[in-house]
Symmetry: C2
Subunit: 198 residues, 2 copies
DNA sequence: CTCCAAAACGAATGCTCGTTCTTTTATGCG
DNA sequence: CGCATAAAAGAACGAGCATTCGTTTTGGAG
């Protein structure tokens, strides 16, 4: 099997990442063994190690997928023209979160990444930069809301973005840990706090 | 050393828990070994296993401490008379969080507990019930705010409480992962979203 | 059709770690 | 003062794990 097509290589890689995702979802990073991932992928030790030199590299790949999904959504959100009012934007973002909060969703993995990021410096830096970028998308929205007169012009966009952004993990943590409120209920609570139109 | 005093037993237990806390903070649950905790406590294997029958039980004890700290604060918050306006209450709660968000703080451990709670059913149920209780304290505050006319009487107190509560992890996650905004900045953003007085 | 290198395989390795268990120490009571 | 016993010690065990590496398979170039 020499020099196989690029597509073949990419497909194998996906096959392994998907297997890892299922395993990590089921058992968490530390309880899933390489053997678990290998068996789930239906491959051999050697095959998997050809694509990922270590378990940590597999975890990184999964972290990338997790954050990448949210990034796509928030990126599109920030691009909407005309810009969505902030509460609609929040609704849009939370709709994605609700999708990913189930047993199969990426958010359970995101929570594990946070834990891991605290002790794996490489993952820590990666997470820091990507989450900062994520928040940046909200900052764009806030600026546009200011231009539209929806928010006071003298407000600090970064601060408002941080508050809005915080409402996302604020929701799905409660959802995943406590079985908390659904998005509609949560949003109704947010809107009450927001005064009225915002 | 038979039948030693209650205080001695309690002190030994604390000694072990404190050692574990330091280790877990430094290396996370999975990278700290029992040997690490034992060495940090300056005790022997046998001594530690007399107080905690397993590593999981040590993790549970730490989880208890972590959540217990927040519980005390929010409990007191809900009892304040006259009740604090919601933004002041948030400020109060966030002040505690800021205290615990540093390298030595319990919030880093809380994040690990979330990951663990997803795969250890006992810890999962424990976290679910305790976090629900935590949110309940905010619900009390919301009801009182409604009585004071600070919020519309027809709002769902549980929903508003969830939104407020979500702002806490929303802050310290950003802080710990991305080095995010300090509490004052975050609060300023929250207040902008809140319209004005709320 | 041949041949070779890339790809896949999987047995073996070596280490780490949680836990057990036997032995030693030390305390308070009689 | 010494005995009974709780507490502490720490050597040893055994399972589980990530990773290595020598071997086998296989696709495609010539």
């Amino acid at each position: 099997m020499p020099r196989v097509s690029e597509e073949h290589l990419a497909a194998r890689r996906r096959q392994i990442v998907e297997a890892a995702r299922r395993c990590f979802l089921r058992e968490g990073f530390h309880r899933t063994t390489m053997q678990d991932v290998i068996a789930e992928a239906g491959l051999s030790v050697g095959a998997v190690y050809r694509y990922f030199p270590s378990k940590a590299s597999l975890i990184s790949a999964i972290a990338e997928e997790t954050i990448g999904g949210a990034e796509e959504v928030l990126d599109e959100l920030a691009r909407q023209d005309p810009p969505l009012p902030l509460d609609k934007a929040l609704e849009y973002a939370l709709a994605y979160m609700e999708n990913q909060a189930g047993d199969e969703g990426m958010l359970r993995i995101a929570i594990q990444v946070w834990g891991e990021a605290q002790r794996d410096p490489a993952l820590g830096e990666f997470a820091a930069s990507r989450y900062t970028k994520l928040r940046g998308h909200f900052e764009v929205l806030v600026r546009r809301a200011q231009e539209a007169g929806e928010l006071p012009a003298d407000a600090d966009p970064a601060a408002v973005a941080a508050a809005l952004f915080g409402l996302l993990p604020g929701w799905f943590l409660q959802r995943i840990i406590t079985g908390g409120p659904d998005v509609a209920t949560y949003l109704s609570g947010v809107r009450v706090l927001f005064g009225r139109q915002r």
